[in-house]
């Protein structure tokens, strides 16, 4: 079984046509489906939030069979993820892609669970504390991408579950939970 770090690669990863964008519709649909699942799976296990198209991404090339995805193919697969709400382009030029292996709504739910589990219902935390603090260690929130976290927090703020305010330092913000 071929591995990428501690990630088990699927069987078809050694199938050379998997790395060429297929022009025939049915074949392409299946190929896109396989790539979508693989990208989400890989990002979830490896805690990868952003894929840069111009940067080296281990999943997009297979040294064993000497194949790698073209930029066109990379953009095509990521675009499908974007259209299904499982990713977002971070820039207009489609060079950086934010991968949402949990949707924003799901991240918000995870956040609420975290708050309830730790008894933070009426507490105040900074955004950085949530991302890197001792409390979040061992949970999915640990090391979460700031952009995604802010989006989840804004969603909850909109629902009245918390309030975001400017913190003392310019680069951090505070969160007042009121679950």
């Amino acid at each position: 079984m071929q591995k990428l770090g501690d990630f088990k690669l699927p069987q078809f990863f050694n199938y050379p046509p998997y790395f060429t964008l297929q022009p025939v519709r049915d074949t392409r649909e299946k190929q896109v489906q396989l790539w979508k699942e693989l990208i989400l799976d890989y990002c979830r296990t490896q805690k990868i939030f952003v894929i840069g198209l111009e940067e080296e991404f281990p999943l997009f090339s297979n040294h064993l069979i000497e194949r790698s995805l073209s930029n066109e193919a990379r953009e095509a697969f990521l675009s499908v993820l974007v259209s299904e709400g499982r990713a977002e382009w971070l820039d207009r030029g489609h060079r950086k892609c934010l991968i949402l292996w949990h949707r924003i709504q799901d991240w918000a739910d995870i956040l609420l669970h975290f708050v309830r589990d730790n008894g933070f219902e009426d507490s105040v935390m900074t955004v950085e504390e949530i991302r890197t603090g001792v409390e979040s260690r061992g949970t999915e929130l640990h090391g979460i991408d700031r952009t995604i976290l802010m989006r989840a927090l804004k969603l909850l703020e909109h629902k009245g579950k918390l309030a975001i305010f400017k913190g003392t330092s310019a680069d951090d913000e505070g969160v007042k939970f009121s679950v």
């Binding site: 699927p10 199938y15 050379p16 046509p17 060429t20 022009p23 025939v24 194949r67």
Partner: protein
């Protein structure tokens, strides 16, 4: 009706595409359509002429050749009349056209007397459509007086004896030159200017035509010479077959092929066919392509046919435009060939009976071979297997791809095709599926490191599908497999031998790891 028609006139044979079958050295000179052929018995001839002997031959195609006058029904499928021919040798007199006021309102007619089977009739050719009647009449006279049938018979006998007779007394041998109706620019335009110069002096004009006639006769000699060479080669190869080496034989056969393929004796030309040029060209092409098409396996590139066809026509070349038009006219005729356009824009000629399924089956066979499973196939691989041109093979591969049979792999190595496994890939996890199938079966691995392969024993209740899926799982993980026989594993199969080759490495180390891999299952 048709039997009655043949009672006086000779029947004419036509090809499947409706072109007349010409005799040796017979050349078409003029075509007219539509024409009627009316017959009236002469008063001096036999008194009892059954009207059934001369049925009305209405609105057909009139073809004048150097040897015969042919009448073909315009639509062979619906018309009950069958094609007939009148040998020019049996024409005893051609009447001069009557100039009268009455004739101005009539369709133009050409009357001539024919005597065959000790009977004599006057035949009237009624030209219903617009056509070059004067031109036709001139040609008619030329051909009749040319007595080409006599020359043909003489030279046929002469080729075996070795002497080439040239009858010097013939005045009307020139077929394409005497009417001077050149309507082209370029080289032809220069020729026309030349001709205008000739016309200034009647005498030099006569001389010029004399030269052309001599040239025509020389051309005939050349044909006879070519025929003789072919005969010599044929006899030579049979006598030396024991001593001559294969290469020599090969080149001789090739030479024979060339000589054989040189001749379309009577190419359809704009001059002879006039308005029916494309229609007749189309029919002639349909007859011509049959042999090359057979050799090429039922499909041939349009460009190849263009070259072959023009080479066979010799000097009467056609333009690509004409060829395309001739091909596109096939839809309207009942011919066994058709023009096909691939998605990529490549145009080919193929038999109507040609089926893609057969080609696909062969391609599938090719890509299922162990080597092809591992590294795919290229267009030239397919070309070699299918025995066709690489460009054509690529078209087949692309259409097989669009059918979902193949998928592509573009890499620095080039453009390759693989068998399409995408529909078979179970995205959940093949590994688990493979695992369950193989553990349900009693697995016995027989290691044989000399031959990278191992035997898997499967219980009888294993379904064919399950076996295939298991094999596929192995394949997707980088192993190739080959069942015991070339056929699919059958449901009652008790064991399979798998030859395992890992993608990009085929050494013994990998085969030992192959065995290790399955035994962990």
């Amino acid at each position: 009706m048709s039997t009655a028609t043949t009672s006086f006139f000779e029947p004419a044979s036509v090809t499947s595409s409706g072109r007349p079958v010409l005799h040796q050295a017979e050349v078409e000179c003029h075509l007219l359509s539509p024409v009627d052929l009316e017959t009236e018995p002469t008063t001096t001839a036999t008194t009892t002429i059954n009207s059934l002997d001369f049925p009305a031959l209405k609105s057909g195609l009139g073809i004048l050749t150097t040897h015969r006058l042919l009448w073909l029904p315009s639509n062979a499928t619906t018309d009950s009349s069958s094609p007939i021919s009148i040998p020019l040798s049996s024409v005893t007199h051609i009447f001069s056209p009557k100039k009268s006021i009455k004739s101005m309102f009539h369709s133009p007619r050409i009357r001539f007397q024919v005597s065959m089977h000790s009977r004599s009739v006057v035949v009237t050719l009624v030209i219903r459509g617009k056509g070059d009647i004067d031109g036709f009449l001139t040609k008619f006279w030329d051909c009749w007086r040319g007595r080409a049938w006599e020359i043909g018979n003489d030279s046929g006998g002469g080729s075996s004896s070795g002497s080439v007779p040239v009858s010097g007394s013939v005045s009307g041998g020139g077929l394409y030159s005497s009417d001077g109706s050149v309507r082209l620019v370029g080289v032809s335009g220069i020729l026309r200017k030349e001709q205008e110069m000739w016309e200034s002096t009647d005498k030099s004009l006569q001389e010029a035509f004399h030269d052309l006639n001599a040239l025509m006769r020389k051309a005939k000699e050349m044909v006879i010479l070519a025929e003789k060479m072919r005969q010599k080669l044929l006899s030579g190869s049979s006598s030396q077959s024991s001593s001559g080496n294969d290469e020599e034989m090969g080149s001789k056969e090739e030479m024979q092929d060339w000589l054989l393929s040189v001749g379309i004796v009577s190419p359809v030309t704009k001059e002879s066919a006039g308005a029916m040029y494309h229609q007749q060209l189309s029919r002639q092409l349909a007859d011509f392509v049959r042999i090359p098409l057979e050799k090429a396996g039922g499909m041939i590139n349009l460009i190849d046919i263009y070259c072959l066809f023009n080479r066979a026509r010799g000097t009467e070349l056609i333009s690509p435009e004409d060829l395309l038009q001739a091909c596109s006219l096939w839809e309207k005729f009942d011919v066994p060939v058709m023009l096909r356009k691939f998605d990529s824009g490549v145009k080919v000629i193929q038999n109507k009976s040609h089926s893609d399924e057969e080609v696909f089956a062969r391609i599938k066979n090719l890509v299922s071979k162990p080597e092809a499973l591992r590294s795919g196939i290229t267009a030239s691989d397919a070309a070699m297997t299918l025995g066709i041109a690489p460009a054509m093979a690529k078209e087949h591969l692309l259409s097989a791809e669009s059918k979902g049979l193949l998928c592509r792999d573009i890499s620095p190595d080039g453009f390759r095709f693989f068998i399409n496994l995408f529909p078979e890939i179970n995205s959940d996890d093949i590994h688990i599926e493979l695992f369950s199938h193989f553990t349900q079966s009693a697995i016995k691995c027989q290691s044989n490191l000399d031959r990278p392969g191992f035997k898997v024993a499967l219980r009888r209740d294993d379904r064919k599908r399950a076996i295939q899926k298991s094999l596929l799982g192995l394949f997707c993980n980088g192993w190739n497999f080959q069942p015991d026989s070339d056929t699919d594993p059958d449901p009652g199969l008790s064991s399979l031998t798998l030859f395992c080759v890992r993608w990009n490495d085929t050494d013994k180390a990998s085969s030992s790891s192959a065995i290790h891999y399955t035994s962990t299952l």
